[in-house]
């Protein structure tokens, strides 16, 4: 193990190198660029013997990965925001072809207006594409999750693509000490890919194909089975990873001080660190509050949410995205998971941090205050600047 001071983006690059990816395809977009620049350096310096395909768009970047994976290669790409939106069609191809691609996504706001700040709208808008989605809180978690993501994606029961998401700038361009495992440790944890149902030279077989309703339903059901295998498989993977590295990120919904909590806040990504500190402050004041980090959004950990709902009376869910729906996206999922349960807690929907706005301890305090007094049905915009709301008008 080596301790290095790394940005979230560098953590992505180091993890891809440790995973011995064979094909990298990339198109630059802020704030993803330093991931693919670092990988270019690794390849140029002979530290990563991969084929690096410099493509002319994100759409092509993902197509390169899909086709390379269809021949059996381990592939990596990274993108953000508009680039991910352009990939949308290929996201479906990747999951439908059971291509175990791992993609780093730097969560960034979607235009217009142009904004490069942290915002989850880009990945939340891809929630129905059959990809596994992780949201990281720290650069260490980025590196560890990318390695776990390959093991998960290539597991024969799963065989689905995985995106490892990190907040723009809060992680992508902020450095912190990261424990980088030795190559031998990673090699033992992550053996070479065992390809299944890929193109084979000399074999007249079709990967993709077309079907009518006679087979299409079963193809979709197979993808669903893969997704259903994710959470049990992740548990095994994390046990093994912890055994080798000493680090365990706590599954899809790690919790903090929830045991006797009246009110629990569910967060995603970097705002979790701020919220954890606020929980400690409120606990010192004798207020019974706790925290749950939604680390995996797809497949949605409904069982873990129900376990949480069995103890907490009130749950507040913070979404760093606005999806033009009645509630925030994660709040909708949490409420749906708890629907119809006897004694199910109240679920409040909070929106905060959209477009990179800082989620301060004061804003988290406001959420807990709302939750402990009279939570509305939401969604409540927690960080609007009242004065600006008046002046930003048509």
């Amino acid at each position: 193990m080596t301790r290095l001071v790394l940005s979230g983006n560098s953590a992505q690059s180091y993890a891809a190198r440790l995973a011995r990816v064979q094909v990298v395809a990339a198109y630059p977009i802020t704030p993803q660029t330093s991931i693919v620049e670092k990988l270019a350096d690794f390849v140029a310096d002979g530290e990563l013997p991969a084929q690096y395909v410099k493509v002319e768009s994100e759409h092509s970047a993902l197509q390169v990965c899909v086709s390379a994976a269809a021949l059996g290669a381990r592939t990596y790409t990274a993108t953000s925001s508009q680039g991910l939106l352009l990939m949308h069609e290929l996201l479906h191809w990747a999951s439908g072809l059971r291509a175990p691609i791992v993609m780093g996504v730097v969560n960034r706001a979607v235009a217009p207006p142009w904004n490069i700040g942290a915002d989850h709208t880009d990945t939340i808008a891809q929630r129905d594409t059959g990809w596994v989605q992780f949201y990281a809180e720290s650069n260490q978690e980025v590196l560890d999750t990318v390695l776990q993501a390959y093991r998960l994606a290539e597991d024969l029961a799963v065989r689905l693509p995985v995106m490892v998401n990190e907040d723009a700038f809060y992680l992508s361009h902020t450095v912190e000490p990261v424990d980088v495992p030795d190559p031998a440790t990673v090699d033992a944890f992550l053996p070479p890919r065992t390809p299944r149902a890929v193109l084979e030279l000399g074999v007249g077989a079709r990967v993709g194909s077309f079907t009518g309703p006679d087979h299409y339903v079963e193809f979709r059901r197979q993808v669903a089975r893969g997704l259903e295998s994710v959470l049990p498989t992740l548990t095994e993977i994390e046990v093994d990873y912890a055994r080798r590295t000493g680090r365990d990120h706590g599954g899809p919904l790690p919790t903090y001080r929830v045991d006797d909590a009246d009110a629990v806040l569910v967060t995603m990504g970097t705002m979790t660190t701020t919220a954890r500190k606020v929980v400690d402050e409120l606990r010192t004041q004798g207020r019974k509050v706790g925290l749950a980090k939604l680390r995996v959004f797809r497949p949605f950990p409904a069982e873990a949410v129900r376990a949480l709902g069995a103890t907490a009376d009130r749950i507040g869910v913070v979404d760093r995205s606005y999806t033009f729906a009645g509630l925030g996206a994660a709040a909708t999922e949490v409420r749906s998971a708890l629907y119809g349960r006897t004694g199910a807690p109240t679920v409040a929907s909070f929106l905060a941090g959209v477009g990179g706005r800082d989620v301060t301890p004061q804003i988290v305090h406001r959420m807990f205050d709302a939750l402990l007094s009279e939570p509305g049905t939401g969604p409540a915009w927690m960080d609007l600047e009242a004065e600006r709301e008046v002046t930003v008008r048509g």
């Binding site: 395909v53 002319e56 990965c65 086709s67 021949l71 290669a73 077309f210």
Partner: protein, 310 residues
């Protein structure tokens, strides 16, 4: 007895789902004869999506990958990258796409593949419209052609715009090899496909592909119409290798273009003036091609540095 220049082994099987008289079916058959069994074909949404037959069957004796309509160039870049990464050295990577999927929606990924000098063969089979969706005009439809989106009526006289010069666009990327092929001339077709097979770097084959239902002619006429296209100068046969252009079917005089146009229902509304215009345009293109083939001039703009060797 003449020596057979077309390899006997078949890598495309009977039972495929093409229409009678389908030139794209002939094109795949001849192409695979030339390339042999160590080939992978990537196919976007196009007629060949259907021709190859549905799951769980396939009409090909080689592996085939489906890709979305605009991404064939990227798909073959990915296949080549994986082949290199996995140490598969003796493999031909082929993209096999229609004219809409190439010269319209797929132009970006084609350009990317050519520019990054992917070691692969891109085949555009040109049936001059979106045929699989029911004969809508593409950028590769010729001027005057009836299609379902360029109907003939009081205020419409077929497609108003000329055909996009895809080979000109390709040549601007300085490919290792580019050629026009026509299944009506199978020996020339196979020779060019074999030449492409033996070279490295980006190669592009523009295949003329008559379509009986889309062009409105009887299916047994495909070969004859294909021959007329070349012999009238509408689709001349030539190849460009390392910047040298060579016409592979030389003709002292072109047949009148009316013979080609009058054989197809899609041009039935053209009057003598229209046909005279087409004739003049075809003659200009043919003269320009012959001048290019005679001169030592490279068919692409000069550069400060020579093209990167493949």
């Amino acid at each position: 007895m003449a020596r057979l220049t077309i390899p006997a082994p078949e890598l495309m099987h009977s039972g495929h789902a093409a229409c009678p008289g389908c030139a794209p079916a002939l094109a795949m058959r001849l192409l695979l004869k030339a390339l042999g069994p160590s080939t992978i074909v990537s196919v976007p949404a196009c007629c060949w999506t259907v021709i190859a037959t549905p799951y769980p069957t396939t009409a090909l004796g080689v592996p085939m990958l489906d890709n979305p309509i605009e991404a064939t160039g990227a798909s073959i870049s990915g296949l080549r990258a994986a082949a290199d990464a996995l140490g598969l050295s003796d493999v031909r990577i082929v993209g096999f796409a229609g004219d809409g999927g190439t010269s319209d929606i797929g132009l970006q990924s084609l350009s990317g593949m050519l520019e990054r000098r992917t070691d692969a063969i891109y085949v555009m089979y040109d049936n001059e419209a979106y045929m699989n969706t029911g004969v809508q005009r593409s950028g590769s439809s010729p001027k005057g052609a009836w299609t379902t989106t360029t109907p003939v009526g009081e205020r419409s006289h077929g497609k108003a715009e000329p055909k996009k010069d895809i080979l000109g666009i390709v040549l601007a990327h300085r490919p290792t090899y580019a050629a026009t092929l026509n299944p009506s001339f199978p020996e020339d077709f196979v020779r060019k496909a074999e030449r492409a097979r033996d070279l490295r770097g980006p190669r592009f084959l523009h295949v003329f592909a008559p379509c009986p239902p889309g062009w409105k002619y009887s299916s047994e006429q495909t070969i004859a119409i294909g021959r007329l296209a070349t012999d009238t100068g509408v689709f001349p046969l030539y190849e460009v290798e390392e910047g040298t252009c060579r016409i592979t079917r030389t003709m002292n005089a072109l047949k009148p273009v009316a013979e080609y146009l009058r054989a197809q229902g899609r041009f039935a509304h053209l009057n003598d003036t229209d046909i005279a215009e087409v004739q003049a345009e075809v003659q200009r293109s043919w003269d320009r091609l012959r001048a290019l083939a005679r001169s030592a001039e490279r068919p692409w703009p000069p550069t400060l540095s020579p093209p990167t060797p493949a």
